[in-house]
Assembly symmetry: C2
Homo-oligomer: 437 residues x 2
């Protein structure tokens, strides 16, 4: 809980605003410091900021990418094989195999996964993202998000308990209900609306205390408001009411896949610019963390996944925790999450900080970015969050990106066990900085 | 807009937290200062804080009070007769007369109102509240809010353009649409739900940047989410979709009548306690401001309505503005609005302040209250807003309550022209402090 002391002895919102005000930025009223903002990085930032991500559809994953058919599962983070896979990811794979009907029980599913007959491939290698374990199977319905400016398209998925590694009856039931009931309802509504612009929702939500990674309360409510009339018009009463009920009941996570999709689509637009040292991917699989950088396209720079400094739910402790996990760090890569910590005083205690300390995180992140988000304003600061992580600035300052993250269990079969903060290892950035084309 | 300067040179969130931490409060961990918190005021505060306001129904106004039948209109603020009535209130009366069909055109409506054949009576004299002009007619559908703890019941009304004084075709159309379409839909949903608890919505919204007077963005979205499944189940698709669309499109004001109703119901519970100098009503009619105090029940203590320090919408200026208007100051009387300014950095620039200055308002208000709200927490502060205005503290400190308010036009026939801040005149409190039973 926030303490009185912290408010009386610090002025971190001021520090955060001051730090952000010193970022070179892409606006007419500020002269960029050319030593920091190279033309290549400027171009990457401009493409990121110009993105207009739109939720355009809900489709089975396999229809998006011909390579994602047959016995293939995607996963979060850089590439990893079954023997080294984290517990949560193995649990999620068991759930996905049972969901697809490739095995009849968890033991058979595990055996199949270990047999080498299931191919594993990172979401990011298919221009997609998945929360936590991020294990998606070909039949799963995914959100399709397109950047209208660049045309870049990505996918993301609802934050199921299965993605934390649970594969019991309730976790599978959740997968079935969403894939047969709620996602089709949402898909019909989205198509009837001709797509749903995500930036306006995110812009409002940042003014309503969401960090848009671990807190999505406002964005989820606004999303449900936007979808509701179209849901009523395109689904039966029973389906519409059930879907609206589930949307109202799970505000914590509902918007997360869309914040991830919006971030990924915008960062895809900033990918592959010769000479740009802007980070376009940060992702974790529980075993390793990997980043990608604009100039080096889809190349991974990896390091062991660190433990998370967590606030555990009752009954759990550090000995239970998975190491850092999930593609959801794409939100921080796009200036959300911990980078927007100053926006979210209500989240701060849930990740173990005071509101001031969370604002300090925003201030620190401003030292490793080449721009600030011009499409979002944190009302406490009068500025958007810092965005455009530069590997050279990370190496120079040794300030590594902070991620506000959910915590999974280290063993398969569990649900979320806490929230906390992690840092992307310096080694990733050192390798990326040393890379030669 | 917030300026960088203000963040670097002030620490008003700290000051606000410090000020609130020094309020005597009703918690085991703090010893109340008996010189400030008399037994009577403690009792008033306890009853206010114990309130559990619930939206229970939507009904025509006349069904709530037998005296509100025939040619009678209620209005905001203390009693006022037609000749002295403010322009916005006269415009709202014309709209209400046309809505009821008591006259065929605006000129005839005005003539009728001026003839003395229409009785005017304050909402508060009927335990109700109405935003801005607050002019309600017997057939208008009102929200019914009941405090489950005390059983006290109040009414409030949607924030129509007519309540700002507009009586053109669009303003009347809005009245008709809400009274024949949307309010009945909401009423059916509320009854199907068995009532809708308002405190949880308000508690969430205060953590999402609402002040719950001039900014209701979060509360309105959460309300629509809560109502949506029941709306689908109890109305036709066309009506349900149309209502959900209008709820999603007007987040600025949708929840305001419910924040007012929740505040009024809780303050009714704190009314009529012998010896209590806690303020239970602050209300303005554009001509006069009136307050009521627990110990003196429904007695008004009045003073001329002051001008508003406003941020005007384009095309309007101080010469156009009505003086202070509306029962909505019941929200400040209950610790919301400007009293919760620290919660709402996104609203601050809309009322002409930086977020720090708005937090300063919260700090100042803490000097004239006998408690803090234990049902709400402002995440930036770690405390609920100050609540329980004590007339003796106002007189002693000469710090008068600040109201965050919408601004109406001084002439009939207009809509909202701005937002701003007003202060309840000291004279009201001096009279109330001098009152002898």
């Amino acid at each position: 809980m926030p303490t009185r002391r912290s408010f009386l002895h610090t002025a971190s919102f001021a520090a955060a605003a001051a730090a952000i005000s010193q970022i070179p930025l892409l606006r007419a009223d500020a002269e960029p410091d050319s030593s920091l903002l190279t033309n290549a990085n400027r171009q990457a930032l401009e493409r990121f900021l110009a993105a207009q991500p739109v939720l355009i559809d809900v489709v089975p994953l396999r229809t998006l990418d011909p390579s994602l058919t047959g016995r293939v599962l995607t996963h979060a983070g850089p590439p990893v094989r079954w023997p080294r896979m984290s517990g949560a990811q193995r649990g999620a794979a068991i759930a996905a195999i049972l969901f697809e009907g490739w095995a009849r029980n968890p033991a058979a599913a595990e055996q199949l996964a270990a047999s080498g007959q299931v191919r594993f491939t990172p979401n990011h290698d298919h221009d997609g993202v998945g929360g936590m374990a991020g294990v998606l199977s070909p039949s799963m319905l995914v959100y399709v998000v397109r950047d209208r400016t660049s045309g870049k398209t990505t996918y993301s998925v609802h934050e199921y308990d299965a993605l934390f590694g649970a594969y019991d009856a309730a976790a599978l039931d959740e997968l079935y209900r969403w894939n047969t009931l709620y996602m089709p309802v949402i898909g019909r509504a989205v198509r009837a609306l001709g797509g749903l612009e995500l930036k306006p929702v995110m812009s409002q939500a940042i003014q309503m205390g969401d960090d848009l990674h671990c807190r999505q309360t406002a964005a989820s409510a606004l999303l449900a408001n936007q979808l509701a009339p179209a849901i009523v018009r395109t689904s039966t009463d029973a389906l519409a009411a059930a879907t609206l009920e589930v949307l109202a009941a799970s505000p914590f996570l509902t918007f997360l896949p869309l914040a991830m999709g919006a971030s990924k689509a915008a960062l895809l637009a900033a990918t592959g610019i010769a000479g740009s040292t802007v980070v376009t991917v940060m992702a974790r699989n529980g075993t390793e963390v990997g980043i990608q950088v604009s100039r080096s396209g889809g190349r991974w720079f990896t390091a062991p996944a660190p433990p998370i400094d967590a606030v555990f739910f009752p009954g759990f402790g550090p000995e239970d925790a998975s190491h850092d996990l999930g593609d959801s760090a794409i939100t921080e890569t796009g200036g959300l999450g911990a980078f927007a910590g100053a926006a979210s005083p209500a989240l701060a205690p849930e990740v173990g900080l005071t509101p001031d300390e969370f604002a300090d995180v925003t201030a620190k992140m401003a030292r490793i970015t080449v721009g600030r988000h011009t499409g979002l304003v944190i009302p406490q600061l009068g500025y958007g969050p810092p965005v455009g992580i530069d590997v050279t600035l990370v190496v120079k300052t040794r300030i590594t990106p902070v991620i506000a993250t959910a915590v999974a269990h280290r063993e398969p079969g569990h649900r979320i066990i806490g929230l906390g903060l992690s840092r992307i290892p310096l080694a990733c950035f050192q390798q990326a900085a040393a890379w030669q084309p």
